[in-house]
Symmetry: C2
Subunit: 249 residues, 2 copies
């Protein structure tokens, strides 16, 4: 049995909370948050806004925004056991003082979407072997994919995640705006969006690339440029060049 | 019963061929291609490299590359019925002479992946009502989503498709290269890639955006810039700005 405390009341904290409640091997001892409103959706017997009243735990998961990790870790005590933040971008040392760890679930979390942790990679780091094993034991209850990773590698992984998540989503948004201007429904693109994603599950992206940039079809490229806003033209040109560079290397 | 001829031997032609063979309402009368080698995977009784020997049909689907549509349509005759190309980027008038139409299936096709046409939108255009109805009847056998669309709207749709397919794939490639340089496996990103795609099935992309660009977290943005190649820095900066512009409008 692992005694676990949870810090944070955002999307990830919520999804972890829901999953932890189903685990017999975990005893959730408390949930610490700043905001009584967002804490209201957790069991009232568990929540507190005062770090001093957060019960002792073997492991405390700090699922807060990047810039709050340092401050909140300073307020936690030795009795809160191993402190693990969940950020992809912060090093182990973002946690001040006590026993430090990182537990980074590589996924995007929204309130409205169900999360199945089972297939989500958890990237773990700790200062000593004993702490790593504790963290691994906990994460192994949530997922089938636990990966040991140092802060430097995690930084690159987080960068790559920004490309396939935030930046890809921005390209979806650009397409959304192009269609909206013509009063065309975005859901026409749904099958293409899903197939494009699924294709790279089995293939290296450059190997399945298609389209005018890859073919060097300047007629189509010029036609596309002629119907875009200045800002989109710049993006279109840069991505077209990037495709052509990737194909040539 | 619709008598159908097929022109082309690429990915789309192959997938259409496979699906058409299962349709009782369609009689496939012939397959025309330039290359005997790529034609070899079709039924030999149906294939020809000579347009003159392609049998008469009610409808001829021209599934060839954009720059071959004009030339091949010139070689087809009145007996080949309604000529429909399958390009998103070419207007109706890419077909020379005879009865013209467009039948654009909005999807990316690879040899190695199974295609389920049923959920793929087919964007149709024809010069007269009778021809449109014939094309609609044919496409309605393949898909549940037939959309009437003129050449101008189709051009914008094709542009949007380049963003969510070719450009998104290039971002997957960029992430692939970032991880490869650190000897980290790309499949760590698979769940994130799929979730990012699925999220926009139910939501406007800007509404589900997350990450350092959206939060305006300049510390992380600078840290990311410091570990990238010059070419990627430019792309990163432009996409970060695009996210911030989209969030502010």
């Amino acid at each position: 049995m692992i005694k676990l405390a949870l810090v944070g009341s955002g999307n990830l904290a919520h999804h972890l909370y829901e999953s932890i409640l189903n685990l017999e091997e975990i005893q959730l001892v408390g949930v610490l948050g700043r905001n009584p409103e967002t804490l209201a959706s957790f069991d009232a017997d568990l929540t507190t806004t005062d770090p001093k009243t957060l019960p002792a735990a073997d492991l405390t998961i700090i699922a807060v925004s990047d810039d709050a990790i340092e401050a909140v870790s300073k307020k936690l005590q030795e009795k809160h056991g191993l402190l693990a933040h969940t950020s992809g971008a912060q090093t182990l040392n973002a946690i001040k003082g006590k026993r430090k760890a990182v537990c980074y679930p590589l996924q995007t979390f929204s309130k409205t979407r169900t999360v199945v942790f089972e297939s989500i990679p958890f990237c773990l780091e700790a200062e000593c072997e004993e702490d790593y094993e504790l963290l691994e034991r906990f994460c192994g209850l949530l997922t089938t994919r636990v990966v040991r990773m140092n802060s430097k590698d995690r930084k690159y992984l987080h960068l790559a995640a920004v490309y396939v998540n935030n930046f890809v989503n921005q390209l979806y948004q650009t397409a959304h705006e192009i269609l909206e201007d013509r009063e065309l429904p975005f859901d026409l693109l749904h099958p293409l969006i899903l197939e494009t994603a699924k294709k790279v599950m089995d293939n290296r992206p450059t190997e399945v690339q298609t389209g005018p940039a890859k073919r060097g079809d300047q007629g189509i490229i010029d036609a596309h440029l002629s119907i875009q806003s200045e800002a989109n033209k710049e993006l279109y040109t840069l991505l077209t060049q990037a495709i052509q560079n990737s194909q040539n290397t």
